[in-house]
């Protein structure tokens, strides 16, 4: 029974809730909707494919009877509405056009931006490539330079040697010193030493001396004619027989060696020690 009682209570509550909701919905309907109590105004609209050219209205025509006036008013209203509509249409078209143009512009800008970025990227890549290329070139050049340095090592040393000898030749004259030492003109002496060196060097076949840095020493005695007095005497061997022989041949082949006519100078050069470095010095 108690259960039934409870059931009845619930039913009552539900009914009350339903009534409240319906009432609320009715009130919302009454107050939120603007009920039309007056006859609505209406107008006729002619639809034109194209807007006709508006005729000038004469003043005489414009001051007429009331009916005509009303009619005219309606017509004018109609025409102004059409005008407004056309204007609105036009504006809408312009707006659409503008919008389209803006979109187009935006697209174009976007595209340009993308191209710009791409160009930038390409330029960047090109820059990197260029840098890489430059680095490689630099490396290549450095390597080449190193090789050239290696290749010219011998020539450089020879040049230095010659330069030193030339300096020694020039030195006394420049400093106003006495060129004659112990009765011998040192400048002349160095000149002949250089001439002898050049003549023998041209005949040394370095191919027969291997690739290592080696030194050979020979002593020679010369006649005033520049011919050898006896055979060259080897005082230090390269330990390569073919090289020792090649250098000895170079000395013999270089006869007659250039010698000064001056007896004092000749006496300085008649006995010489020749030091050979066929593959240069380390």
């Amino acid at each position: 029974m108690k259960f039934l009682k409870l059931e009845n209570n619930d039913e009552l509550q539900a009914n009350l809730f339903s009534f409240a909701i319906h009432l609320a919905l009715f009130l919302v309907m009454v107050f939120s909707v603007g009920w039309q109590t007056k006859t609505p105004y209406y107008g006729e609209v002619e639809l034109w494919d194209t807007v006709p050219v508006q005729k000038k209205i004469n003043k005489t025509q414009a001051s007429p009877k009331k009916k005509t006036k009303q009619k005219q008013n309606t017509k004018a209203q109609k025409s102004s509405e059409a005008k407004a509509k056309a204007k609105a249409q036009k504006e809408a078209d312009i707006k659409l056009k503008k919008k389209k143009a803006a979109e187009k512009k935006a697209k174009k800008l976007k595209k340009q931006k993308a191209i710009k970025e791409l160009k930038k990227k390409v330029l960047k890549q090109e820059k990197i490539d260029k840098l890489k290329k430059e680095m490689l070139e630099k490396e290549k050049v450095e390597r080449l330079q190193q090789q050239i340095i290696e290749q010219q090592k011998i020539e450089k040393m020879q040049a230095e040697l010659r330069e030193n000898e030339l300096k020694q030749q020039k030195k006394p004259a420049l400093e106003g010193e006495d060129e004659v030492k112990g009765g011998v003109n040192t400048g002349e002496l160095n000149k002949y030493k250089l001439l002898i060196q050049q003549k023998i060097q041209q005949n040394v076949n370095q191919q027969l001396c291997g690739l290592d840095y080696i030194t050979l020493e020979f002593r020679i005695s010369l006649m005033p004619t520049g011919e050898l007095l006896g055979q060259p005497k080897m005082t230090k061997s390269s330990k390569i027989k073919s090289c020792d022989d090649a250098v000895e041949r170079a000395i013999i082949q270089s006869q007659p060696l250039p010698l000064p006519k001056d007896n004092g100078l000749f006496s300085k050069l008649k006995n010489l020690e020749l030091k050979f470095h066929p593959n240069g010095v380390e």
Binding site: Q158, Q197, I200, Q207, L272, P278
Partner: protein, 429 residues
């Protein structure tokens, strides 16, 4: 008394040292890469065939081909002297000859000859070397090569290679292939193998008794080793994939070979009996064309690990890899001179393939040839000459020698044969 002797000795030392100091010293650096002018006279024939005396042309050819000698034209010179006592030295000096070779050929038995010869130093005006060889009439070229070897060794300090053999592949009838063996100058050709399938990469064993080569007769490249004397051969490598580029170790006990197996070309080591195969270098890049250093401690090879093909070396003890060639974008086909000081390879220079030589001490590179399509350079066993394949665009392939100073390039007289893949045999003791 002792004091007195000491004083005298000291005085002597002082005097002698002052004499030494008084001696003018001239330092001479470097020199020139010149050729030794040498005259080789026709050998006089006593009882032997007359044309046999032209042995001098064999000797002239040998010495000239080395690039270290300049054989003189002796056609205008009167009779050849019989000994150094008969030599008119001033005449030879005026011809700028530094050395003179003279000789005679005596018929000692039927078909048997004795060749006597002398090398005379024009500057020293004396005989510096002489010798005798006995052989058959048809061995005259071989005797000439032996004379050249002796002269070469006496004057250059390096062993001559004029009595060695070469191997090369000949393509004939457009489809068939021969593995030929010949004298180093292309004479006396014999065929070791005749095959319908291509043969490539012949390599002499260090003792000169066997040749390893790659044959396509199994419809893929496999490696054989063939005995020269008997013609017997055995299959060394027929592993999955390609088997190629055999290279004998200096002791002849092992070979470095290239297998594709499961991956790209990789270098493996294998015993000469075909046992104990193991991979040498673990690399994702291609490693190929192995070549041993003379001490057997390093293997030089071609790899594309840096992009283009370059030459690298692998140390067998430390497993260290280092790049060897830096000049040019395309360097391949390495081989080393007998002393390990020079590296020979093929390089691409201004679009042309040329033979290049690199001094491994100074890293200087010398291009020995001008290309445009040179191939497969290999060293002579004394490292003074190079055997290589060369051709002009669309023309016949030739095998030739080039001296390592680049002064002399000589084609082998192989006529119109289509030849390729040369290999130079060792010097036989």
């Amino acid at each position: 008394m002792n004091k007195f002797l000491n004083v005298i000795f000291a005085g002597f030392l002082f005097f002698s040292s002052s004499v030494i100091h008084a001696l003018e010293v001239i330092e001479i650096l470097g020199g020139k890469a010149s050729q030794i002018p040498i005259a080789v006279m026709p050998f006089k024939s006593f009882g032997a065939q007359k044309d046999i005396g032209k042995i001098n042309s064999v000797i002239k050819g040998d010495l000239g081909r080395s690039g270290l000698f300049y054989p003189l034209d002796t056609r205008g010179v009167a009779a050849s002297p019989n000994s150094d006592k008969e030599v008119n030295f001033s005449q030879w000096k005026s011809l700028e000859a530094q050395f003179l070779i003279i000789g005679r050929i005596d018929s000692i038995q039927k078909e048997q000859i004795k060749v006597s010869w002398s090398l005379i130093d024009i500057y020293k005006q004396q005989t510096v070397l002489s010798g005798e060889y006995v052989g058959k009439n048809n061995q005259i070229r071989a005797i000439g090569h032996k004379v050249s070897d002796k002269v070469y060794e006496r004057l250059t300090g390096s062993k001559g290679v004029f009595h060695t053999k070469i191997a090369f592949v000949e393509k004939y009838n457009n489809q068939k292939f021969k593995l030929n063996i010949a004298d180093y100058d292309g004479y006396n050709i014999t065929t070791l193998l005749d095959s319908k399938m291509p043969i490539i990469s012949p390599r002499w064993s260090p003792d000169g008794k066997k040749i390893a080569y790659v044959s396509f007769e199994k419809e893929k490249p496999v490696i054989y080793i063939q005995e020269i004397a008997t013609g017997k051969r055995k299959l060394l490598a027929n592993f999955k994939g390609n088997n190629s580029a055999p290279a004998w170790s200096p002791d002849g006990k092992r070979l470095a070979i290239v297998l594709t197996y499961n991956t790209n070309s990789q270098i493996y080591l294998i015993n000469a009996d075909g046992s104990d195969v193991k991979r040498l270098i673990r690399s994702r890049s291609i490693t190929t064309e192995p070549s041993w250093s003379p001490d057997g401690k390093e293997i030089y090879y071609t790899s594309n690990q840096g992009g283009g093909p370059q030459i690298y070396k692998f140390n067998l003890e430390s497993s260290e890899v280092s790049r060897v060639t830096f000049e040019g974008k395309y360097n391949l086909y390495p081989s080393l001179s007998y002393d390990g000081k020079l590296l020979l390879y093929l390089t691409q220079d201004q679009g042309k393939f040329k033979v290049a030589l690199q001094n491994l001490q100074s890293n200087q590179v010398l291009k020995l040839t001008k290309g445009p399509l040179d191939e497969a350079p290999v060293f002579a066993p004394n490292g003074h000459m190079v055997l290589f394949v060369y051709k002009n665009y669309g023309k016949t392939t030739k095998i030739g020698t080039v001296s390592i100073n680049g002064l002399k390039i000589d084609p082998l007289p192989l006529g119109s044969r289509q030849v390729q893949e040369p290999a130079w045999g060792p010097i036989k003791n």
